[in-house]
């Protein structure tokens, strides 16, 4: 009788061990599956579109030439409610200090996975032109 009980216990122990091993391995594999690419790309595409519109409608060039961030702010504030963005303009010789930065109103820079896109801007003054980098950082709005 004592022998029988021992065998049943060992059997149950092995079964449990097997169960946990398979459970752990399955959880590990499922844990490695990430679904962030589509969201990240969507964010990057939104950022690209926003910068393209800002350039095509002349807002970036006007903001630089007149030193008025409002040309950019007006557009940024009309972006979808779930999207936050910050647009910075850098002179070609100083990428450390932006000459202008606009943060969409109602947004906090509390992002974890932002999307950053750069675009060149040619600002013409008279018959000369200066070149700038416009950088947009976009992220999903976190409520609270």
């Amino acid at each position: 009788m004592t022998k029988k009980g021992f065998i049943i216990s060992v059997d149950a122990f092995i079964a449990l061990l097997l169960f946990f091993a398979i459970f752990a391995a399955s959880t590990y594999h499922l844990g490695t599956a990430k679904f962030s690419a589509k969201n990240t790309i969507l964010l990057k595409e939104s950022a690209m579109d926003a910068l393209t519109v800002l350039e095509k409608n002349g807002s970036l060039e006007k903001a630089i030439k007149e030193n008025k961030p409002n040309y950019i702010r007006g557009f940024a504030n009309r972006l979808p409610a779930s999207l936050c963005a910050e647009v910075s303009i850098f002179g070609q010789n100083n990428m450390a200090e932006p000459v202008m930065t606009v943060l969409k109103s109602g947004c906090k820079k509390n992002f974890t996975e932002p999307a950053t896109i750069n675009k060149s801007v040619a600002a013409r003054t008279g018959n000369a032109a200066d070149y700038y980098i416009a950088r947009i950082t976009a992220w999903q709005k976190v409520s609270g």
Partner: protein, 295 residues
């Protein structure tokens, strides 16, 4: 039930459980791998999209610096190409050299890519815009040259009608000294409308022989130089147009619009600057002409 039968059943049950568990494990591994592959493919596609975005960005800037606006509309029967420009140009075209340095240095670093351009044939005093169906539009800004021309090298452009508009700002037409061109019974329809900022106008609309050079010379009061609208055999290229500004007062500007209408080619046409753009990031490589549009 006999003891042996119970053991047999237990063995079958255990094997089934192990099989099912193994299947779950394999499925989890397969699923994770599949998702990873999909993620990688999404990122890979984005690399191509970004390359296109950068190419568009650079093309837009070059077009903005050069200042030429082009509009081409192809219907079932006709192709109409319009060029809008200014003589002398709004932005000094040698700004392109600075832009090239900016792209190669600052912009490449920010895009984390290798970007280079060959703009030698744009920065040599003449910009050439090439159409896939043969004609080309040149803007000459070398030295004292200041002209815009539409032609096809060594052959007829195939244009059936031209609509040419010139608006001069800062100079008054001296109509008595200016002289026009000769009309023919057949040939290419050429309409010319000239206007200055003082409200003086010239209008001409008639047929011209596309194989003979005809010049409309427009002179201005108290200004040295002239605006010349050439039609016909321009530099031995028949059925071509060239607008030339030789006014020495550079504050006088001539806004020009040339619309050329011709039979529609069977295939889609594209137009591009005679300059090369090379982009390389990871496995994505682009090497192409600076293409402005298609119709």
């Amino acid at each position: 039930m006999a003891k042996g039968e119970w053991m047999k059943k237990g063995l079958v049950f255990s094997i089934s459980t192990v099989l099912v568990a193994s299947f779950i494990l394999l499925f989890a591994a397969f699923y994770a791998q599949k998702v990873q592959a999909e993620e990688n493919s999404v990122y890979k596609n984005f690399e191509t999209e970004k390359a296109g975005f950068v190419a568009e960005d650079i093309t837009g800037d070059i077009n903005s610096i050069l200042g030429t606006q082009i509009d081409a509309n192809r219907s079932q029967t006709n192709l109409a190409i319009s060029f809008f420009d200014q003589l002398p140009p709004k932005t000094a075209k040698n700004e392109l050299t600075d832009y090239n340095a900016f792209v190669f240095g600052t912009y490449s670093v920010q895009q984390n890519a290798k970007i280079s351009m060959n703009i030698d044939r744009l920065a040599d005093g003449k910009t050439e815009l090439l159409f896939s169906n043969g004609p080309q539009y040149d803007f000459d800004y070398s030295g004292t040259q200041n002209s815009a021309s539409f032609y096809r090298q060594g052959t007829d452009t195939g244009t059936t009608g031209y609509d040419i508009n010139v608006f001069v700002s800062g100079a008054k037409l001296a109509s008595t000294n200016s002289f026009g061109w000769s009309c023919f019974a057949s040939g290419t329809d050429v309409k010319l409308h000239f206007e200055d900022s003082f409200g003086n106008t010239i209008d001409s609309s008639c047929k011209h022989n596309p194989n003979i050079l005809d010049q409309y010379i427009i002179l201005f009061e108290n200004k040295t130089g002239q605006i010349t609208v050439n039609f016909g055999s321009v530099s031995s290229n028949p059925n071509a147009v060239k607008i030339q500004n030789t006014l020495q007062d550079t504050s006088v500007t001539a806004a020009t619009a040339i619309k050329a209408t011709m039979p529609a080619p069977a295939q889609e046409i594209s137009w591009q600057y005679d300059a090369d753009l090379n982009y390389s990031q990871g496995d994505t490589n682009i090497s192409r002409k600076i293409e402005l549009g298609r119709s």
